[in-house]
């Protein structure tokens, strides 16, 4: 096949300024502006474009549209690399680099094609049958043999490779609202947009191609298209090209992705490469067209075999006559129009029509032209030509006595196939609208809901242009409240098509492809039947039919037909798998949009953030928060730093940022009652000016969260929550007040961001506070006892001071209005220098709380009861609260539940990690007795310690030898189980 470019034609004029260059596998070629990659390659006589997925067979261009299963290429270089791009739908731009895929060392000579020689072994399910256990004795079954072979199998299979560099482009999200959305710009789509706009509707029309016009573009005459576009522009209809409607979703929502032309996004980095558009419309009109099918015959994947309609597109849109001598194999009327146009362009045509007779009108149209017509005829096998990978010869069959029989061969370098049309009903299927098999036209049809989702044109199975346009006009001739009853006749050919899915003769062997992109052959479908995978869903997964990037746009129906034949039933009985979005593949970048990195996961910085960074704090992510982790001195390691910080704090004074704790203001006459119902322990008698530690449970009785709640005045409280649960506790309180107890007069407000919280801990903490506070008398031991809170002035700024301690030392938490936090912290730190003082981070905070047996979400993990964490004394029996009833469920009160304990290594030099399991000595396998939740080196005790849970708690394991085992790190040691309050259990330090 040697395609010819016709000269001086309208759309892609072959004048010099319209010539562009591009690179195909690093070699420079020339093409016309407006060419698709496929057109550019054809014009340069390049026919082998890639190698197939499994057998590495040479693959060429099979179509001119989104259904393309052969010509997949990689475009661009470096970080701009884009793999698995359809050559048929991508515009060629000046200097574009295009590469073939899945071939080594080159697409013309590919080592991998050796697989094709052994092809008969590689049937559906081959790899699994073979390498899960090698036949005949399933050698190696149950071993890691599959893992071993999988590596090589994956290497041999596959498509293009994407770049491993970060994507340099930006992507945008947007929302569009419109009265009418029309998808597709063929004759039906354009007419629908015009009719809607004439009614005064706001109309958006989208086209996946880079040119507007749909099937108009494949017609010889463009006058009608130009007129329609003019009308659209006058009516101010919004037209988006390169825009794919990839999915139809609930509530009349359509997902659109618009791809910017290559040259635009590269010259200006501000422009997004793709735009993801969530479009909501009152009416959605699917004018999505139809896709021409092939049929299965041997070697039907050879380069040089294409759909009939694509030859028409290459001729009229790209001025390319594929060959001087063209064979067309068809079963319907649609191919004749193309045949006549190709003949007019100078080709000699041979038509093999599977039907035994055709209508007189068609016969008259081709009379006198260089068109040889063979009725009752088809192709059984294609063979490649001499010195080429492309088609050179075909074996013919003729229909006699109700079956095919061999009828000689014919030399042929370009074979066009049309075995019927499949309307694009994908979007209707996404929303689950009924899909029915139309026997006469051999296709699946859907009609949407005819209220807000309509299918028109060839997407509804109408084959004539006039019929398509009429179907578009009809929608708007009805009152929109009534249900639309389409009157246009489905079909429209002079002679009905003869169903044709496969031609095979028992004495001619070879591979006949059903799904060329995934190398699924007709014998694979029969194998699926033989092995019992007869449901379409099973067949699809067993053979991988329709699971490649084209999602079986060409092959699915052939597969269904072959299964129907094997089952001896009709295609409608076999059924069809539901289509899923996206219609064509869309990039992950478009889905992410600008929600990348910190735009995906925004950073929350505490009001002391700058102070921490100025003081060399190393930050760590805690949820969304950036919190100071440790403050290294010079080249100090994390471990050295936290040990020093904890030591200095216990010896003298430490200052820590605790702003990320959730803070909720609870106000109203019923706030005491509300808090009393939420916490397990009594709050009714909490005096003003005091704080109390509380535990809240879920409805099911398990522990939800803990924290202190401060009574600021008679009817106003400040509740603190853990950092992790700040959001969910807030939503929970709102739910209780709005849904469950609307009779309670209480308001809750989150004030987490309004206050910076700073903990001053250590024996010198009161001394420091005395120096910074405006009136030192307010914080004496008498006026601010343990768990006391007070509003005070620091530098004339009203702050709260609470005498609470997470570290176990004499400690205060100072809450400073966020706006003053930075300067106030500098002031505190400056005064801290009068003592031995340090800043401490999350790591030292953790160390000190583990020493004291205080809890975080490592322990309160949603599975523990209040008894499990040793706080059953806090569960009041004198009042009712959430979770009270269900916490007493059977099994939740068992004494042999895992309970919180402290853990010491018996050999004090040994270290271990969280996640290790605890067992009785001698029982290292099976269900463990317990596990380790938090581990630290304890500077106060001088060795590693941990918190964890163990069955039955301290009492149960008192006389037992417990072994800690960390199988992953091969660490095993004897441990001693102790009380979780490992340091200063009497709490003497707390009171200074």
């Amino acid at each position: 096949m040697n395609p010819l470019r016709k000269k001086n034609q309208s759309r892609t004029d072959n004048v010099e300024e319209n010539v562009i260059f591009f690179f195909w596998n690093n070699k420079k070629y020339f093409a016309n502006k407006g060419d698709s990659i496929a057109a550019g390659l054809l014009a340069n006589n390049q026919h082998v474009i890639g190698r197939s997925f499994k057998y590495h067979r040479p693959r060429g261009i099979m179509s001119a549209g989104v259904e393309e299963a052969g010509a997949l290429v990689t475009i661009g270089n470096g970080a701009y690399t884009e793999a698995n791009v359809r050559a048929t739908t991508t515009e060629l731009t000046q200097g574009l680099s295009v590469y073939s895929q899945n071939a080594w060392p080159s697409v013309k000579f590919d080592i991998g094609s050796i697989l094709n020689v052994f092809g008969k072994f590689f049937a559906a399910g081959f790899y699994y049958k073979m390498f899960m256990g090698i036949p005949p004795f399933e050698w190696g079954r149950g071993t890691k043999i599959w893992m071993f072979f999988e590596h090589f199998i994956r290497k041999a299979a596959g498509l293009g490779q994407s770049s491993r560099l970060p994507d340099p482009d930006c992507y945008e999200h947007m929302h569009t609202h419109t009265d009418v959305l029309v998808i597709g710009t063929g004759p039906a789509g354009l007419q629908a947009a015009i009719s809607a706009a004439e009614e005064g509707k706001d109309v958006l029309i989208v086209e996946q191609d880079y040119a507007i016009g749909g099937s108009y573009l494949s017609q010889p005459d463009t006058v009608e298209l130009e007129t329609q576009i003019e009308v659209l522009k006058k009516l101010r209809v919004t037209i988006l090209t390169r825009t794919t409607a990839f999915g139809l979703y609930d509530d009349k929502t359509v997902g659109l992705v618009q791809v910017m032309p290559a040259k635009e996004y590269k010259t200006s980095s501000k422009k997004p490469r793709q735009q993801f558009n969530i479009c909501r419309a009152e009416k959605i009109i699917l004018a999505t067209g139809a896709i021409e099918r092939s049929y299965a015959f041997i070697n039907n994947d050879l380069p040089g075999i294409m759909s009939v309609s694509s030859a028409r597109t290459y001729l009229n849109r790209f001025n390319l006559l594929l060959s001087k001598n063209i064979v067309i194999s068809t079963n319907n009327d649609s191919a004749y129009e193309t045949a006549i146009e190709l003949e007019n362009a100078g080709a000699t045509i041979t038509i093999l029509d599977a039907r035994e007779q055709i209508g007189n009108k068609l016969l008259q149209q081709i009379a006198g032209l260089r068109i040889n017509l063979y009725l009752g005829s088809g192709v059984v096998k294609a063979e490649k030509g001499l010195n080429t990978s492309s088609i050179g010869k075909i074996n013919l069959v003729e229909f006699a006595n109700n079956k095919w029989r061999y009828a000689g061969n014919l030399s042929c370098d370009c074979l066009l196939i049309s075995a019927g049309w499949s309307p694009v009903i994908h979007l209707a299927s996404h929303q689950g609208y009924p899909i029915n098999w139309n026997e006469e036209n051999a296709c699946f049809l859907s009609s949407g809901d005819n209220k807000s989702i309509f299918l028109i044109g060839s997407a509804r199975g109408i084959w004539t242009k006039a019929g398509c346009i009429q179907s578009a006009k009809e929608i708007f001739q009805y009152n929109s409240r009534k249900k639309h009853k389409p009157s246009t006749v489905i079909g429209g050919w002079e002679t009905p098509l003869a169903p044709l899915y496969e031609i095979c003769l028992h004495n001619i062997k070879g591979k006949a492809f059903v799904d060329p992109q995934h190398d699924v052959t007709s014998s694979d479908i029969r194998l699926a039947y033989q092995e019992g995978f007869i449901s379409v869903e099973h067949m699809k997964r067993y053979t991988t039919l329709g699971m490649a990037t084209d999602q079986g746009k060409m092959g699915n129906i052939i597969g269904l037909a072959l299964m129907a034949e094997a089952l001896n039933c009709s295609i409608s009985e076999v059924g069809v798998t539901r289509f899923r979005p996206p219609y064509t593949s869309i990039s992950l970048g478009a889905l992410a949009g600008r929600n990348r990195q910190s735009h995906f996961k925004p950073i929350r910085r505490t009001p002391f953030n700058n102070f921490s960074i100025q003081n060399k704090g190393v930050m760590i992510n805690a949820g969304l928060w950036h919190r100071p982790w440790y403050y290294p001195m010079e080249s100090e390691s994390l471990e050295a730093a936290y040990i020093r910080e904890a030591t200095v704090t216990r010896r003298s004074l430490g200052i820590c940022d605790v702003s990320s704790l959730g803070k909720i203001i609870i106000q109203g006459p019923d706030s005491t009652e509300f808090i009393n119902r939420v916490y397990t322990n009594p709050f009714a008698k909490l005096p003003v000016g005091k704080a109390r530690y509380g535990i809240m449970l879920r409805d099911d009785g398990l522990v939800f969260d803990d924290g202190t709640t401060w009574r600021l005045s008679e009817n106003c409280y400040l509740m603190t929550t853990t950092t992790d649960n700040a959001f969910s506790v807030m939503a929970r309180l709102e739910e209780l007040l709005q849904v469950r107890w609307p009779d309670l007069s209480v308001q809750v407000t989150s004030v987490t961001d309004q206050w910076g919280g700073c903990a001053l801990a250590g024996p010198n903490s009161r001394n420091l506070l005395t120096k910074i506070i405006d009136d030192p008398n307010e914080i004496s031991n008498e006026s601010l006892p343990f768990m006391g809170i007070k509003q005070v002035l620091i530098q004339n700024v009203p702050c709260y001071v609470a005498r609470i301690s997470f570290s176990g030392e004499l400690a205060y938490e100072v809450y400073i209005p966020s706006d003053y936090a930075q300067s106030m912290m500098e002031f505190i730190w400056e005064n801290g220098q009068k003592f031995e003082c340090c800043l401490y981070g999350l790591e030292a905070l953790g160390t000190m709380r583990i020493e004291k047996g205080h809890l975080t979400n490592a322990e309160i993990d949603g599975r523990v009861t209040i008894q499990d964490i040793g706080l059953s004394k806090m569960a009041s029996s004198n009042k009712d609260y959430i979770g009270k009833v269900l916490k007493n469920r059977e099994k939740l009160t068992d004494s042999d539940r895992p309970q919180l304990v402290g853990i010491f290594p018996k050999d004090k030099n040994k270290t271990f990690k969280a996640g290790a399991l605890l067992n009785e000595a001698g029982y290292s396998n099976g269900h463990p007795l317990g596990w380790v939740t938090s581990v630290t080196f304890s500077p106060a005790l001088g060795h590693w310690i941990a918190l964890g849970f163990i069955t039955g708690g301290l009492a149960y394991v008192k006389d037992k030898n417990i072994v800690l085992s960390d199988e992953l790190r091969s660490n095993f040691l004897d441990v001693e189980i102790v009380s979780p309050q490992m340091y200063d259990p009497e709490g003497l330090r707390l009171h200074g």
């Binding site: 509530d251 119902r677 409805d699 709102e734 739910e735 709005q738 849904v739 009712d880």
Partner: protein, 94 residues
């Protein structure tokens, strides 16, 4: 993607809301017997079709809403505030 008509904020995308739970659940008194708490916490109707459910307009006015929705078609029939008094008041003012 469905849209929910928040009585305060108007029609907003589902992504602004968080699903709560089935709305027909009535939680018993805090001191009720174990069985009625068990039913409320663990038994779900899992309705095929129309049901009332609670949603919170988390990234909006933070109201808890009672949404009547078809679990098959996702069609929404009605939206009102879960807080009975507030719903009364908003009815009066609009």
């Amino acid at each position: 993607m469905i849209q929910i008509e928040c009585p305060f904020c108007g029609k907003r995308d589902q992504s602004e809301f968080s699903y709560g739970r089935e709305g027909q659940i009535t939680f018993p008194a805090l001191n009720a017997d174990e069985n009625s708490w068990y039913d409320a916490v663990f038994l779900r109707k899992n309705t095929y079709g129309r049901q009332i459910e609670t949603w919170q307009h988390t990234h909006g006015c933070r109201s808890w809403l009672l949404v009547e929705r078809d679990t098959v078609t996702h069609k929404i029939f009605s939206v009102k505030l879960a807080h009975t008094d507030w719903q009364e008041q908003i009815k009066k003012t609009t």
